[in-house]
């Protein structure tokens, strides 16, 4: 829980240092700047899946800035933990059922 609330450190600090994303995790726009071209196979598979909250943001809400990004980041941390907890709750129920 505490870690969730602290999680925006994970984007505020890189922002202070003006760092980009992690090495080798660029989108095709960033890759074009770095490598000079975008491999054709990469384009084909890059968007094979579109996640509801890409890069831990709520991109469908049109607000920007570090404050909102940080807030959404915390929400995403909670969503992630909640989804994982639900998975393990199911497992627990399954276990109870098998024991009964």
């Amino acid at each position: 829980m505490a870690l969730c609330i602290l999680s925006p450190i994970g984007i505020i600090v890189p922002n202070l240092f003006k760092s980009g994303g992690a090495w080798g995790e660029w989108g095709s726009d960033e890759l074009k700047e770095i490598a000079g071209f975008v491999p054709s196979g990469l384009i084909k598979f890059e968007s094979v899946w579109s996640s509801p909250f890409p890069d831990y943001t709520f991109s469908f809400i049109g607000v920007q800035g570090l404050f909102w990004e940080s807030l959404f980041y915390v929400f995403c941390a909670f969503i992630g933990v909640a989804v994982l907890s639900v998975c393990f709750c199911f497992w627990k129920l399954l276990l109870r059922k098998n024991e009964a």
Partner: protein
């Protein structure tokens, strides 16, 4: 360390899924055999911990970021098979919901962060530690094991990315997927993990274990 979709060729993705599917099934069976309700709580906690700690991005000069994973830590506490399952599940949620790491690359990411990292850290830890070692020694060895665990995983990522332009190019020789050769991926991944992220992973592991060992 999360490989996105498109960086690995379909053949590589299929190969990693072919490796990981039996590993997942074997681990799930193994863990399910010994699991009770108490252990499920610990598994849930470690999956959540791993998920959140991967959100703590640490910048390094040169414009990139990285993070700890907690693979060795979970493996020492709950065993490597439990670590594999909880980290894989955390990675699945990251890929499905947040686009962090690809779906096609999910098996590859599980291979390096769920399989290589915890099993390396765990084996090294058990190799170096005897049953009645002092807490201080255990904590120090956990630091070293976690450091090696994450670095071997980083090396795995470098290999996966770096072999793409060797095998998968179009008729003109232009890379189709990850465009960087081994001589770029290895120094890039290893440099940052040997110098910084390995230490971060080691320190995180040592701090948590120090706390838990003292409780026991």
């Amino acid at each position: 360390m999360h490989i996105p979709d498109g960086y690995l060729s379909p053949a590589t993705c299929v190969a990693t899924y072919a490796i990981m599917t039996p590993v997942w099934i074997y681990s799930a069976r193994k863990v399910a055999k010994e699991v009770d309700e108490r252990k499920i709580h610990f598994l849930a906690l470690s999956a959540a911990f791993s998920f959140v700690i991967m959100m703590f991005n640490i910048p390094i000069p040169g414009g990139t970021t990285g993070h700890a994973v907690g693979g060795t830590l979970i493996a020492i506490l709950l065993g490597p098979y439990s670590a594999l399952l909880s980290i894989s599940l955390a990675l699945l949620v990251q890929a499905l919901l947040f686009g962090d790491g690809g779906i096609t690359a999910f098996a590859a990411n599980s291979l390096v962060m769920g399989l290589i990292m915890p099993f390396t850290g765990y084996s090294l830890y058990n190799l170096l530690i005897s049953k009645n070692a002092s807490i201080k020694k255990k904590v120090f060895v956990s630091f070293v094991s976690a450091y090696f665990g994450i670095n071997l995983a980083a090396f795995g990522v470098a290999l996966l990315l770096g072999i793409q332009p060797i095998f998968f190019v179009d008729e003109k020789g232009v890379p189709l997927y990850s465009p960087f050769p081994l001589k770029i991926t290895i120094p890039a991944m290893m440099g940052e993990h040997l110098l910084l992220f390995g230490l971060v992973e080691g320190i995180a592991t040592a701090l948590v274990l120090n706390y838990i060992f003292k409780l026991e």
